[in-house]
Amino acid sequence: MVVGAVPRLLPGVVGFAEEICITLQAWSFGAATRLRFQTLTGNDPGMEFGPHLLLAVLEGAVGAAVLALTALGLSLVFGVMRVVNVAHGEFYMLGAVVAWFVASVIAGHPALGFVAALVIAPLAAAVVAMVADRLVLKPVAYDPEATIVGTIGILYILQQAALMWFGPEARPVEPPFNHRIALPWYDWAAGEWFYPWGLSTTSYKLFVIAAAVVILLAFWAVLTRSRIGLIMRATQLDRETALAFGIPVGRVYSLVFGLGAGLAALAAVLIVPIQQAHYLMGGDPLLLSFIVVIIGGLGSVRGTVVAALLIGMSDGIISVFLSPTLSKILATLLVALVLVFRPQGLFGTRAA
């Protein structure tokens, strides 16, 4: 089934790749000159190489953390249901938008609104996803082609609904806490620690990384150690046999689709105090999640996490030192190579 689905995915992936190329063509002109300048001078006109790299790694880690959660949702839905959820990015957007609503109605310390959003937004996205599963995916019997078209429809409905009710503005959510942390660096020549200009992160960004690690571990534990995880894995392995053993596959599908959307929404709640809620914010995460899931292997948790780290960190580091375009080009190239030489993904298993 996996083998059958991947070639069907191909046109979509090629389309995405083309989209990237077209959007980024204009940016790429600067890349070559900047690259030459920086390798010739050996250092950056602003910050030294070491501190700059540390900053890039930290920024990349925040991106990778959120990406891992989002992509995991996409991977889970595909792994268990064999549904390519094109609306996944919109559930991410939904999470951010609901987080804004929750945070704006709850008065008092911003942490209260944030914690409430952390609970309510994923639940809300999960409920919407479950309803969508019942109304759209189930009636078409989870047919791979029909579900792609169906989820494209869900994508537009959610996006335009957000535009109508939430509006076109980017709206901020206040972080529960946010302290600027200046980071020290060791100067070998002078033999002492110092604080380079601009080398800093915020406590909230560190929290996002830590929270994502905790959520990923919890998710992994649920999937491998709990009864519901066992049921999901059984459904993933063989739908018919699972059904024969009395597993309510229909309900498992709804649950999984909701869980996938909830993960995306949770990632969005974490990022929304850094980036604002906006009705178009689902596009990038969807694209990157597809890249991650294809590289890591559809349906593989381990592959998804590894690929998210790879893509998130390379985006942070390459875009700092070379150009943002180049990092996107490399990611797309990697997708192409994986599809050609290892269509099941780095960690995917080739099912019969």
Partner: protein
């Protein structure tokens, strides 16, 4: 009670036919009258969706307010204005299609309203081919540069070149001479890069580093280390939905040791100045096309304009204080519609056959006094380059509000003509 009310094809057709007759009835009577009483149809190319949607929403509200005012005062040559709004998705290709629809499907007299410069670039050739007068409200330098055509004009808002040029003397005198520029990596940002770099050099300053950021970027901290340490002034202009992230992350990057910061309000258009994370902006400077906050020396025109559009003294919607307007730009729609009215009245515009006369009448305009029709300030229209020139404002952030500290002259914003559209054939 057993009778069923099933809809079948026949009843549907009957219903549709009846509905069609009913819908067409007012049209019949309308066209039975003399043509002079038919409304003037203005195609409004609006960024309803896409990255320009926040601007599009306020351009829409301003347009509605201007049309209401003009119609309440008797319309244009006794005819009412009818706005036909079409969404261009903030997309150049769609923009050209929309202009085509205005000309061939909607029978519009003129088209107006485009903001984002790439959409103007994409749409203007269509307007030229279809001979449809096309009034943009974009700030882009493309009109005055001569790159477009005789049918495209920008009479209601000044262009980037004149804006940045007028900023350079103030920046060099009051903030510093070593500047690092951060701008979006497309036409609009390149206008900033080219014209400000030249203008600050003319003031004896220099730009140490140009940092171009892709317009769809969502995370910005990684770009800031490129700011050279000897930078005295950071000049920033950013557009799109991620502007608040950009400004916040800039504050977090600099921490307590920030250089002077000068920004174009585009970086925070439609964003609440009191948003969390923007506290560091206190004491920094912004260009404003029109001051968002009602100033101590507020003119009666600004007051009346705010009331007409529904904007409070903080530049937000009167019905929702969190719904912040694009105040530095949207006056352009108001002023452009008044120019169209003045041009149509001066040329005795009766219909599409008079489009060339309309353009000539507007090309003949020069001084436009500050008034309820032109609440942003006095202006000077250049008929040759199809571009208006006007005063610019510099505001300083004090306690989370923008307070006007400097008003440029019109002369500060002028530059030698780069084109003469009046020599082009219609």
């Amino acid at each position: 009670m057993t009778q069923s009310f099933k809809t079948n094809r026949r009843t549907l057709i009957k219903g549709a036919a009846a509905g069609g007759v009913l819908a067409a009835a007012p049209l019949v009577s309308r066209f039975a009258q003399a043509q002079s009483s038919a409304p003037i149809r203005i195609g409004f190319q609006q960024h309803v969706t896409g990255i320009g949607a926040a601007y599009g929403r306020w351009y829409g509200r301003t347009t509605d307010a201007a049309v209401k005012k003009i119609n309440d005062e008797g319309g244009i040559n006794g005819r009412m204005i009818e706005i036909i709004a079409e969404d261009d998705g903030t997309d150049p290709k769609r923009g050209a299609e929309v202009v085509g629809k205005f000309a061939s499907q909607h029978d519009c007299d003129v088209a107006f309203g485009t903001l984002f410069s790439h959409v103007v670039y994409g749409s203007a050739p269509a307007a030229g081919e279809l001979k449809l007068p096309y009034f943009v409200v974009s700030e882009g330098h493309h009109v005055a540069s001569g790159a477009l055509n005789r049918y495209t004009m920008q009479p209601g808002i000044t262009d980037v070149k004149s804006q940045v040029q007028a900023m350079a003397p103030y920046v060099a005198e009051n903030l510093g001479k070593k500047v690092t520029m951060i701008f979006p990596d497309f036409a609009f940002g390149h206008d900033h890069r080219d014209y400000f770099t030249a203008a600050i050099e003319a003031q004896g300053g220099e730009v140490l580093e140009h940092i171009a950021i892709p317009p769809t970027e969502t995370s910005f901290t990684k770009y800031f280390p490129k700011i050279p340490r000897e930078t005295e002034v950071v000049y920033h202009v950013m557009v799109g939905p991620a502007v608040l992230t950009f400004v916040k992350e800039m504050g977090e990057f600099f921490g307590p040791s920030k250089p002077a910061i000068f920004g174009f309000i585009d970086s925070l258009e439609a964003v609440d100045m009191t948003s969390p994370g923007l506290e560091f902006l206190d004491g920094t400077y912004f260009w404003e096309g029109m001051p968002r906050y009602a100033q101590a020396d507020q003119t009666e025109y600004d007051k009346a304009f705010r009331a007409a559009v529904g904007v409070d003294d903080n530049g937000a919607s009167v019905s929702d204080p969190r719904d912040v307007s694009t105040y530095a730009h949207m006056f352009g729609c108001w002023e452009t519609l008044h120019i169209i009215k003045a041009g149509m009245e001066a040329s005795d515009y009766a219909g599409p056959q008079d489009r060339a006369k309309l353009i000539e009448a507007i090309e003949a305009m020069t001084e436009l006094a500050e008034s309820f029709e032109h609440p942003q300030g006095p202006k000077l229209f250049n008929g040759k380059t199809h571009q208006v020139f006007g005063v610019q404002y510099i505001s300083k952030v004090e306690n989370g509000k923008l307070v006007k500290v400097h008003t440029t002259s019109i002369e500060d914003t002028q530059y030698p003509d780069e084109a003469d559209y009046t020599t082009m054939a219609f």
